[in-house]
């Protein structure tokens, strides 16, 4: 799933490891989510949103909305 995680992380000058430690997941998890290879569960998505103090939809791009924009 497309997302703004890398941008949000960069704005805070956090490394993937920094973010991983804050989320209590592995660095590999952060990398997989950032690159869109893995879609986080709803609980993890909420943890990410709460960490950045943003609504989930401002971090993760809805696939449905993305495809409708493309049309």
């Amino acid at each position: 799933m497309e997302n703004r995680l890398r941008v949000l992380r960069a704005e805070r000058s956090w490394s993937q490891q920094d973010l991983a430690e804050r989320l209590e997941v592995s660095r590999q998890s952060v990398n997989a989510i950032e690159t869109g290879k893995y879609d986080p569960s709803l609980p993890l998505a909420f943890r990410i949103a709460e960490l950045f103090d943003l609504p989930i939809e401002e971090i993760f791009v809805s696939p449905a909305r993305r495809s409708s924009k493309a049309i």
Binding site: V25, S26, Q28, S29, A32, I33, T35, K37, Y38, S41
Partner: protein
């Protein structure tokens, strides 16, 4: 190996313990049968003893999947176990038919465990190719 989570460390510890138990039970059973130390129904119990730690390996894997808190790492291992199960079941099926038509001889059933663990390796390669992470 992706990372050493706490759950993974516990899995490794359990694996070491059941492997030690396997060595003890197997050596004891082989020694006992070789020297005719057992008779009657006890022989069945002793013969099954080495199988119990092997079953323990699967229990350890199950516990790991339950205890792993990192959902991405857990998913990698689930994918590996699916590959392993599919590979082992396919190998057993193919072997069964080859044996059925007298093209190859019988093999002791416990070798399927070795095939299953080999399948874990295949799953790791599949993870690496598709996700860039090999898994545990």
């Amino acid at each position: 190996m992706v990372m050493k989570t706490e759950a993974w460390k516990r899995y490794n510890a359990r694996t070491i313990w059941v492997s030690l138990a396997y060595a003890v039970f197997l050596i004891g059973a082989v020694f006992g049968f070789k020297h005719h130390l057992f008779a009657g129904p006890v022989r069945y119990v002793v013969a099954v003893l080495p199988a119990l730690p092997i079953i323990g390996l699967f229990v350890a894997m199950g516990r790991y999947l339950v205890e792993e808190q990192d959902e991405y790492v857990r998913m990698l291992m689930v994918r590996q176990t699916l590959w392993a199960s599919g590979f082992a079941l396919s190998a057993a099926t193919i072997w069964g038919f080859l044996q059925n038509f007298d093209l190859i001889g019988p093999v002791d059933g416990y070798w399927i465990v070795v095939v299953w663990y080999f399948g874990l390796g295949i799953g790791s390669v599949a993870n690496k190719l598709s996700l860039g992470d090999g898994g545990c």
